[in-house]
């Protein structure tokens, strides 16, 4: 064991980099006190003290959940995993005899549900570390891999770190349009954007491939922010993952189904199930930050953010979907997008219980809490896709 002698002295009289409280010393770290250079308009009526108090109230909500979290939550996620695996094998097995029309419909439906559940309630949430507290290596953010083309590790970087930290900050959070769509009026209009609705319509059924390409961060590479080695590594990981995914759904399953003369039908079944999951995931995810009522932010609104301000940005930058319990489950509880963005790593089964408290806080502090049924939220995002295809009207 060697002892590093060049270790900076951490004792009190050692010179420490001193900076005004409102200036961040490290990216992502929050200021203790003060306010951002510019507070978002929707929260401009709140004082620093009110924002700090709001932060404490939300912290208390989280602490309450962490204190209650236990055996019943563990049982919940294990039950979901069992249900999902049951749907998956029964769906795939049924597709093996899918030359019978009823079997095709049943198999495709079961597999579609399995893939939706796997992607949203299991994959997304487990990869967020919502279940890490169980210390079960099989249900852990560092080991989980999902039935989705993009490798889990690549997605965790762009999603958990970049998107959740910089939620809706134009220029920082590339989830605002995924480098493909113009989703905010503050994004510069280019003639390319005329195709906005077309790109979005084409993206939906192949959403998982869109995400996979997005996670490669090609823009960062072009701008020299990502090394060639890093890109090559990511490409290789994606290639391996895509190959196994492709083989499973479009080669192995149809090949086995050929034994019963159902090869072609099985292929259509897996293609359909993937498309259904993609269209659904695309719809749900677009409802998270794009419906009317959600705000986007400039970098000066983030500069000097306190914990309370960070919470405010998460709330007013996100939108919920209202609906039944089944609906919430099918969205992987991303229908509680606001609560998810406040507390990305509390177990998903707890968001429903948190939601009324968060809504009450928003009401009390005069902050918008955007929610609506899925058809309304999807309509609202599509309206935005169309509207922003056109150049801004000259003032």
């Amino acid at each position: 064991m060697t002892i590093v002698s060049d270790k900076p002295d951490l004792s009190e009289d050692a010179p420490q980099p001193k900076a005004p409280a409102a200036v961040k010393t490290r990216p992502g770290a929050l200021a203790e006190t003060g306010s951002p250079t510019l507070r978002p308009p929707a929260a401009a009526h709140l004082s620093d003290e009110q924002i700090a108090e709001l932060g404490r109230e939300l912290d208390a909500i989280k602490d309450d959940i962490l204190a209650k979290r236990g055996a019943s939550d563990a049982a919940y996620i294990r039950r979901m995993i069992k249900i999902q695996r049951g749907l998956e094998i029964s769906g795939r097995a049924t597709l093996l005899v899918s030359k019978h029309k009823a079997a095709w419909v049943a198999g495709t439906t079961l597999l579609s549900f399995a893939k939706i559940l796997e992607n949203m309630e299991l994959g997304h949430n487990i990869l967020h570390g919502q279940w890490d507290w169980m210390r079960d290596p099989d249900i852990h953010s560092t080991t989980w891999e999902w039935d989705f083309v993009t490798p889990a590790r690549a997605w965790q970087h762009t999603h958990n770190d970049l998107h959740h930290r910089w939620t809706n900050v134009i220029g920082k959070d590339n989830d605002v349009g995924y480098n493909l769509l113009r989703m905010d009026a503050d994004q510069e209009w280019k003639p390319f954007n005329l195709g906005n609705p077309l790109y979005n319509a084409l993206l939906a059924p192949v959403f998982e491939w869109g995400i996979a390409i997005y996670d490669l961060e090609l823009n960062d590479y072009k701008e020299g922010k990502k090394s060639k080695e890093a890109l090559t590594k990511d490409l290789k990981a994606l290639g391996r993952k895509a190959l196994t995914q492709f083989t499973k759904d479009y080669a192995a399953t149809p090949a086995v189904a050929m034994l019963t003369g159902s090869g072609k039908q099985a292929l259509y079944g897996t293609l359909t199930a993937n498309a259904v999951r993609n269209v659904w995931a695309h719809a749900v995810i677009f409802c998270g930050h794009f419906p009317d009522g959600t705000d986007t932010f400039t970098e000066e609104m983030v500069e000097g953010e306190t914990r309370g301000d960070w919470y405010v940005r998460q709330m007013i930058g996100s939108a919920n979907i209202s609906g039944s319990k089944f609906m919430h489950l099918m969205t992987g509880n991303l229908s509680h997008q606001i609560e998810h963005h406040l507390f990305p790593d509390i177990p998903s089964n707890r968001y429903a219980e948190v939601a009324p408290k968060v809504q009450e806080i928003c009401r009390r502090y005069g902050l918008p809490y955007t929610t609506g049924p899925i058809w309304k939220q999807v309509g609202s995002t599509w309206a935005k896709v169309f509207k922003l295809a056109l150049p801004p009207k000259k003032a």
């Binding site: 951490l10 695996r85 999902w146």
Partner: protein, 357 residues
């Protein structure tokens, strides 16, 4: 077996990203090769606060040697906890652990384990095993320290008429003495085995300060290979006695002592004092205060630390803890068990900390 592996690989084409065993585990929980599990087959109460738990391990388990221990994972309120327990079953038979209620984990095992429950397992290990060549033996045990020795006695005594074993077991009262009846029966049945129960509630602790006490219980103790297992104080005393003996005896003494220690408590101070942080793979040690996130500590020491949001939400900075405890800077909770993945961006050292990086 090889064909089975080929079959599994073929099947995995259909189950990826899962393995076929993940699907099979729907039907039988011990089918996972990634996580070794065992199904509890029988639970036998031993004393008022101890019980023997028999289990059927899944693939990946190795048969244990008498005296070895295994790590057992149990879930308490949804959270996995690992503890080490000696196997009390004789070598060659289905494994069993005998657990005394001494804390949250052992208490749960003793009181709430039922046949059919699933235990998480790590294969048996340990050097506290019988000598390779037959020798007269002296076993010194106290309290639950009897468990590994019980496995040795059960393995040796009934099957080896040439064996010669003396057991001195101390417990507080006869009611607290685990395996008391079975030991008495073995001693009745096999002349090559002698058991001495010493009840500290009646007679106080065995005096190890001089050889006189031991001499009285087992006059030929110097000719025996001795094994001791029990609480720290008991072992320290025994060790001191044997050391004095081997250092002073004329001619040189053959007396040997093998010891099994259960270090139950990690050396970790709580509170805000910080401590020495050791990055084991990087071979670095840094003194850290109790308020600086381990992520910053590592980065300042030039370690390539994984990192992400730096605010405790993204779980990109997880590093396995090898030893010690950390304080969650958000909640002030002090926690940590070997193997646990910790969020370095919101955790500070609470006493000495060893990290697997």
């Amino acid at each position: 077996m090889i064909r089975l592996r080929k079959l599994a690989r073929a099947a995995s084409l259909l189950t990826t990203p899962l393995a076929p065993e993940d699907i099979l585990a729907l039907f039988n929980p011990v089918f996972s090769a990634r996580q070794l599990r065992g199904v509890v087959t029988r639970v036998v109460p031993e004393t008022a606060d101890s019980a023997t738990i028999f289990f059927r391990p899944g693939r990946g388990w190795q048969a244990h040697l008498a005296g070895q221990w295994a790590r057992i994972g149990v879930e308490l309120d949804g959270v996995r906890h690992w503890r080490s327990y000696s196997l009390s079953a004789p070598a060659g038979q289905d494994p069993a652990i005998t657990v005394s209620d001494m804390g949250a984990v052992s208490g749960t095992l003793v009181r709430n384990t039922r046949p059919g429950d699933v235990l998480f397992l790590a294969p048996p290990q340990g050097d506290f095993v019988l000598p390779e060549h037959p020798r007269p033996l002296l076993m010194l045990t106290a309290g639950s320290g009897i468990t590994p020795v019980m496995s040795m006695i059960r393995t040796l005594v009934p099957h080896r008429p040439d064996s010669d074993v003396v057991l001195i077991h101390t417990a507080r009262t006869p009611e607290d003495a685990i395996f008391r009846e079975e030991l008495a029966e073995l001693a009745d049945q096999f002349p090559n085995f002698r058991v001495i129960h010493w009840f500290t509630g009646e007679r106080g602790r065995i005096d190890f300060s001089s050889v006189a006490g031991l001499e009285e219980l087992c006059p030929d103790w110097r000719q025996r290979a001795a094994y001791a297992c029990g609480p720290e104080g008991f072992l320290d005393d025994a060790e001191a006695l044997w050391e004095t003996e081997t250092a002073t005896a004329e001619p040189a003494s053959e007396a040997t002592l093998t010891i099994e220690r259960f270090s139950t408590k990690l050396a970790g101070g709580a509170g805000h004092d910080g401590g020495l942080v050791t990055f084991e793979s990087s071979d670095r040690e840094v003194e850290a205060d109790g308020d600086t996130p381990l992520l910053d500590v590592g980065e300042d020491a030039g370690i390539l630390m994984p990192s992400g949001c730096r605010m405790g939400i993204c779980h990109s900075c997880l590093i396995p803890l090898r030893a010690g405890q950390v304080r969650d800077l958000r909640t002030d909770e002090v926690h940590g068990e070997p193997g646990q993945l910790i969020q370095t961006c919101v955790s500070a050292a609470a006493g000495p900390v060893n990290l697997d990086l």
